[in-house]
């Protein structure tokens, strides 16, 4: 049996900004497609299901995978309806050949360098390389830039050899003037066509080499004129706003210099051909797997060729490689579809479910959790137990205690002193946890391990553990600083207390928060030449802590939270089971936040709370049923003050939670179709269960009428 769920929601017309100071008016708009229709009291939704098309899989073409055509010195990656090809040219450079709709393998020719535009223009500038070093008249963005001990600042990479398996490939490149070596790595997910690329840069010389740019990959493709760049921007409480700009000739940069992923721009992008939309058109899409400062440049040449380069942010970047040392870049994942933005999202969702999330294809469905942070229930033993009892009656499966459980009696916000506050929990957390378990739920706890407060014992004992430039002012943000996790002693301290906390208490989930952008990113204890490694080592150590915690505590789950949704990327998602998209829980705003979020990331990980109304941000009153159905579009959770709910509210909540438990596999692991954008008078999304035996098709058409909207919907898988 196949299950499909259609969510429909009506909405007030909203201002462009989510902030209340900007949204001065709520226009009364009915549910018609026509924006001038003000009096509609209802609309008709016509649903037409066209089902069970035969699978669109051709059996005639070559098998998916990576193939090397030796006589052409060419690699061809075939997956689904996509081909990706590159080869070794006559100069022994690794040259990009093609990325787009699937072609026959035999149709690919050997690559040859391209001529310059004029007699005084080098061919290097015109010839797209898979991983260009800066040198030899390269004017495009390099994937690698280095300075050698003798002062040479040029890297020209030539092909050496390869190691090929069916779905993975490692190509060795070497600088023509030194033993600086790059292992260029490709891994194909044949099911989605998503290609993972990364590079290991090895110093095989006898002297140190300073890396000034180390990118994960360069992707080259030709979207033609009028191509559009799609990306996601935001700020606190208004994350995940989709943006699209006509891609200009020249270079466009998306980046974070904050030390972490950031909410301003997310490390995801798509480039679409002119006219592409949710349902149709060619798109190249990709995302970085890195939770530190990152950079993606998108260069469009005069010939409309596009090169996308991404990896470590080059700002303030300097990574000294001693002889024998190496640096691994983050993975850069990318794919192609000819079926519009919706399909690009579904491919990413499937890839994330299968290859990114910690449990991969075995990823456990997200339990319905309760968290009292927004309800402001006192973080003390008795009020929390009382709230847990109310939540359990509704069908909640996990109870999470948020900030406020730690520190000294009478103190507030003592980040760094991760002992249970004896005034609030005189018997420790055990009585609460035992009660939560007795109620049939598991237990989660909020932590913010990377921050330290000035009023904490940790800061007094280890003032040198925070990032700092000696002798210079230290900016205090929100009353706290950032621990320098790049230091191994800080890393070990952090792992130890977290492991002790999880081991001594039966904790199923750590809600790992991070509410501080970097300032003064100094590491004075490190040798001068290594101090800028802080940009890389910090994140590597963060990942190591999370990996070790999960290995030692296999049942432990992690929620990534960062001032709302400022740390969501494919690097943290390898170590997180769920993420917090935004502190903004207003159901109307959540429609657009969730729509933007799912452009790049699966709804499986998208925690969505039902909170109180009027909401704290806009003072907007939305019905409880509306709030539930918006939250049921992701990983349903509760954050309302249940003490305020009456019998009718409780009955509705229990009914909705029971329904969600039935549809949860489809919502969290199925295929998502954004039928109508929240930008309009109403929105609709559909989730279709994955079922290889029951493929079907979906199409959507809209029609306007004087008193309503007529939707023609069809399902497809």
């Amino acid at each position: 049996m196949q299950t499909k769920i259609l969510f429909g929601a009506t909405a007030r017309t909203r201002c462009a900004s989510l902030f209340p100071c900007v949204c001065q008016r709520n226009q009364q708009v009915g549910h018609n497609l026509r924006h001038d229709s003000m009096n509609s009291s209802s609309f008709w939704l016509l649903v037409f299901l066209l089902m069970f098309f035969p699978p669109l899989v051709s059996t005639a073409r070559a098998a998916d995978g990576i193939q090397f055509i030796s006589d052409k010195k060419l690699w061809v990656v075939q997956a689904g309806d996509e081909s990706y090809a590159f080869g070794v040219n006559e100069r022994n450079e690794l040259q990009s050949a093609y990325w787009g709709e699937r072609l026959r393998t035999e149709d690919f020719a050997a690559v040859h360098s391209l001529p310059g535009w004029s007699s005084f223009e080098s061919t290097t500038a015109a010839t797209p390389q898979e991983y260009p070093g800066w040198g030899a008249a390269l004017y495009a963005e390099p994937a690698l830039k280095a300075t050698f001990a003798n002062g040479n600042r040029e890297v020209v990479l030539h092909y050496v050899d390869q190691l090929l398996n069916k779905d993975s490939l490692e190509i060795t490149l070497k600088d023509v003037g030194s033993a600086l070596t790059v292992l260029l790595r490709y891994r194909l997910d044949a099911e989605t066509g998503v290609i993972e690329r990364s590079a290991r840069i090895e110093n095989r010389t006898t002297e140190p080499v300073m890396l000034e740019s180390a990118q994960s990959a360069t992707w080259t493709f030709s979207p033609g004129t009028g191509a559009t760049l799609h990306y996601l921007t935001g700020a606190w409480a208004s994350e995940w706003q989709p943006q699209s700009d006509i891609l200009p000739t020249g270079t466009r940069v998306l980046e974070s210099r904050r030390g972490s992923t950031g909410a301003e721009v997310n490390p995801w992008l798509a480039v679409a051909t002119s006219g592409a939309n949710e349902e149709h058109g060619r798109l190249w899409f990709g995302a970085l797997g890195w939770s530190g400062s990152w950079r993606i440049s998108i260069e469009r040449s005069m010939t409309a060729q596009v090169r996308v380069n991404g990896g470590f942010n080059t700002f303030d970047f300097a990574y000294m490689l001693a002889p024998g040392e190496s640096l691994d870049t983050p993975p850069f994942y990318a794919g192609f579809t000819a079926s519009g933005m919706g399909e690009a999202s579904r491919l990413m969702h499937r890839f994330e479910l299968s290859h990114i999330l910690p449990s991969g294809s075995q990823a456990k469905l997200r339990p319905i959790l309760y968290n009292s942070w927004e309800a402001r229930i006192p973080v003390e033993e008795n009020p929390q137990i009382a709230m847990a009892e109310k939540a359990a009656k509704l069908g909640v499966e996990r109870y999470v205690v948020d900030a406020g459980w730690f520190g000294s009696p009478g103190a507030r916000g003592q980040l760094g002193d991760w002992n249970v506050n004896p005034q609030k929990f005189p018997h420790g957390l055990k009585p609460l946890i035992d009660r939560v378990h007795a109620l049939g739920m598991d237990f989660g706890l909020w932590v913010e391990p990377e921050s330290v407060a000035k009023n904490s014992n940790l800061y007094r004992q280890h003032p040198d553990w925070i990032m700092n430039f000696p002798g210079r002012p230290q900016i205090e943000v929100g009353g706290h600083y950032v621990l320098n996790l790049a230091r191994d002693d800080v890393k070990e301290f952090t792992f130890s207390w977290l492991d002790r906390l999880v081991t001594e208490n039966d904790i199923a989930l750590l809600k790992w928060d991070y509410n501080r952008n970097w300032t003064e990113p100094g590491w004075p204890e490190a040798p001068l030449a290594d101090q800028k490694k802080i940009w890389v080592r910090y994140v590597q150590n963060l990942y190591e802590i999370l990996d070790r915690l999960r290995t030692k505590n296999p049942k432990l789950e992690i929620e990534s939270c960062s001032g709302g949704g400022a740390r969501v990327d494919l690097g943290i998602l390898r170590r997180s089971d769920q993420v917090w998209p935004s502190d903004n829980t207003d159901a109307l705003d959540r429609l657009s936040i969730q729509s933007g979020f799912t452009q790049a990331y699966t709804p499986h990980v998208m925690i969505a709370w039902v909170t109180d109304a009027p909401d704290w941000l806009h003072a907007r009153a939305t019905p409880l049923k509306f709030r539930f159905e918006v939250a049921m579009s992701g990983a349903l959770a509760l954050g309302a003050d249940l003490n305020k709910w009456n019998d009718e509210d409780n009955a509705l909540a229990a009914k909705m939670i029971a329904l969600y438990k039935r549809i949860r596999p489809t919502v969290q692991n199925g295929k998502l179709y954004r039928l109508r954008s929240p930008d309009s008078d109403f929105s609709a999304v559909e989730y279709v269960a994955e079922d290889a035996h029951e493929p079907c098709c979906l199409h959507i058409f809209t029609h306007s009428a004087s008193d309503g909207v007529f939707l023609l919907l069809s399902c497809r898988v």
């Binding site: 259609l6 007030r12 299901l49 066209l50 089902m51 159905e629």
Partner: protein
């Protein structure tokens, strides 16, 4: 497309009360009528395909 399939329909929207099963043919040519009223109205509709032997009994 399979117009002969039968679907069990469940919705949180009151307007669909009385519709329990519907054929693909009916959905194709007539569809479902939903009434959402006013601001912040919403509905979750669940379609479950029934085994092919199930009888079709459209009631709306």
């Amino acid at each position: 497309m399979n117009p002969d399939a039968t679907y069990r329909v469940e919705t949180t929207d009151d307007a669909l009360k009385g519709v329990e099963k519907i054929s693909g043919l009916d959905l194709l040519h007539r569809g479902l009528q939903l009434s959402l009223r006013g601001d912040y109205d919403s509905a979750v509709i669940v379609f479950e395909r029934l085994p092919s032997a199930a009888s079709v009994s459209t009631t709306h």
